[in-house]
């Protein structure tokens, strides 16, 4: 399953992420690395983007970006 499939409040560990190029580097720079635990905090009022919490801070990203992040 991907980060998108989490319900608000649920947590998951990053297994892998299937993307290339700039987005991949951005995700890495923002601390999304394999094995890290991510919590889905909430979904924006209009259904997108998402707010997640990792490494002690909150990050927002769109569903298209979240869908490349495999978690368990």
């Amino acid at each position: 399953m991907t980060l998108c499939d989490l319900k608000p409040g649920q947590k998951g560990k990053v297994v892998s992420f299937g993307t290339e190029g700039v987005l991949r580097h951005r995700l890495l720079d923002m601390g999304i690395t394999t094995g890290i635990e991510i919590q889905l905090v909430k979904v924006a009022p209009l259904g997108d983007p998402l707010e997640i919490r990792l490494r002690g801070y909150n990050l927002s990203l769109r569903k298209t970006e979240a869908s490349v992040i495999e978690i368990k």
Binding site: D29, G31, T33, D48, G56, N58, S60
Partner: protein
Amino acid sequence: MKYTLALAGNPNCGKTTLFNILTGSRQHVGNWPGVTVDKKEGVWKKHTEYNILDLPGTYSLSPYSAEEKIARDYIVKERPDCVIDIVESPNLERNLYLTLQILETGVPTVIALNMSDELEERGESIDSSYLEKEFGVKVVKISARNNKGVQELYDAVVETIEKNITPKKIPLFEKLQKLDDEGVANARYEKISDVVKHAYKKNSKVQNEESQSSKIDKILTNRLLGLPIFALVMYLLFQLSLGENLFFLGIPGLGVFFAGWVDILWSAITNLVATGLVNAAPWAQGLVINGIFGGIGAILGFMPLVLVLYMFLSILEDSGYMARVTFVLDRVFRRFGLSGKSFIPLLMGFGCAVPAIMATRTLDEEKDRHITIIITAFMPCGGKLPIIAMFVSILFVADNAANITFLIYVMAMTVAILVALILNKVWYNGATSNFLMELPQYRLPAPISVLQHGLEKIKGFAKKAGTIILASTILVWFLTSFNINSFNGVNKESNVNSSVMSEMDESFMASVGKVFSPIFVPLGFHGWRPTVGIITGWIAKENVVTTFAQVYSDDITDQYLLEYFDGKNASKEELLDVGFEEGLYESEVAREIYEGLLQEGGDANALPTVRRDIPTKSAGFAYIMFNLLCMPCLAAVGAMKRELKTWRKTFGGVGVQMLTAYIIALLIRLIGLLFGF
């Protein structure tokens, strides 16, 4: 001996606040060569032998954005005498990622743990001596917003430079050489986790408790309340800065209030100077009063709006709410290829395009910023209202004025969205930008920082826009007041007061109008007069109305005044009193009366020259839309130049606006011909 210090750090780490505290007003904003990223430099107020350079706020030094490339190149190639790495203490883990990358370069570094007081209030702390031992550089605790720890920071910088304290070469740095990108990120974060475990003393009570910030966020970005609260905040922002009638109390908002006072003050000064110039030649009076003072007045009038709006925007930005605005609205604006932050400039555009365009600074993506700047100028701002009011009332006499006005508003907004979509497709190949945005903790903004932000903005605006506006106002004044006979003595002989100046309808401007008017024939309006209206509208859009009053003054006959206006807004005597039929009047007074009159109901059919130049409703409609959509006033173009940085991009933007205006006006005219209106 002069030293250079570079400030580096994540966005939201308090870097700008520290920069402002250290340099005070002694700062200079320029551009990095070749890119449109701000380069801020200043001198340390208390220790003038130190130059301070504010590097762009980045999360990393990997070269994937212009900002990161600049920060990296500067540190590695220019090698400042010392890098001050500012770390947001409550967010140590992610901030250390950049810190590690800076330390890897081997440049002398001081780590400043900012917001350390915030941490202590929560009963948490960072063991700075552990960090010092681990990384081999000086670590100081500071609080930029409370001006704490600055002396300690200075001592650390002095010691670092004197003893050339460079970072310790930890084994990790060597290991990184052999890893791929993902391995590097993993290895760095592993090291960071280890450091954080040893250095960061958590308060288990606080960690389990819901933080203040997420409590606030529960309400502000709530599924049901998020949008209404946002609408309320925007309404307040708009009313307080640009509102003419604050909360229907009959008093103006702060920005408009101050703008009014500036206007009164400036008029008084202008009058004083005018009195002093009574005996000067008419052209000298004109140059000083209409050219120079008029030009400066146009800039001054915008200052309070820009200042107040900017202060409110920086409160939103510093408090962390701006990031939530983007979060809440992203879904809507992404459809047009923009981001949620585009909403604020577009809304501001209904008041005044100048602060609105400057508000695009809060957009992170260059693409979003460019498109938003261009389409913000399409919004029907306050200056365009008189145009709409006048033409609707004289050209659409029998129609419902409110409906037509509403239609014009809807059209302007639709055009803005369409242009955004097209630009996104054509210029940027429909690229969707990444949307990885930190949602920072809510914080109370520091008043000093808010004020400094605002002042910095208007200083920049006055400098850059000022020169453009002043020069162009003088140019237009010259063109409307002189003709070739001004210089060969013909005017001097024929004019009663032996002035060398000419009437507007014989001026260079009229000639310019004649040259360009053929361009507008396909749009349905003829002759030089409407063209001159468009040109003077570039000084300020409301000028279109005054210019019409002036160039069509022959149409305003006694009979016309009697038939349509006597006893309605002003009596015929009053009108003749201000010299209405001769086009000689104080433009301010005339505009008020004229607008009043026209809204009460005139009729273009009784104005033969107007009727001839703009023969049909569709031509009139095309004329309104052209004025609304074409190049905005020069003050706004000045703001465009300031935000787009290069003349090439500014002219590109104006070109898009001109083309859009022409196409839309042409379409209106064609539809008009087709349906016979």
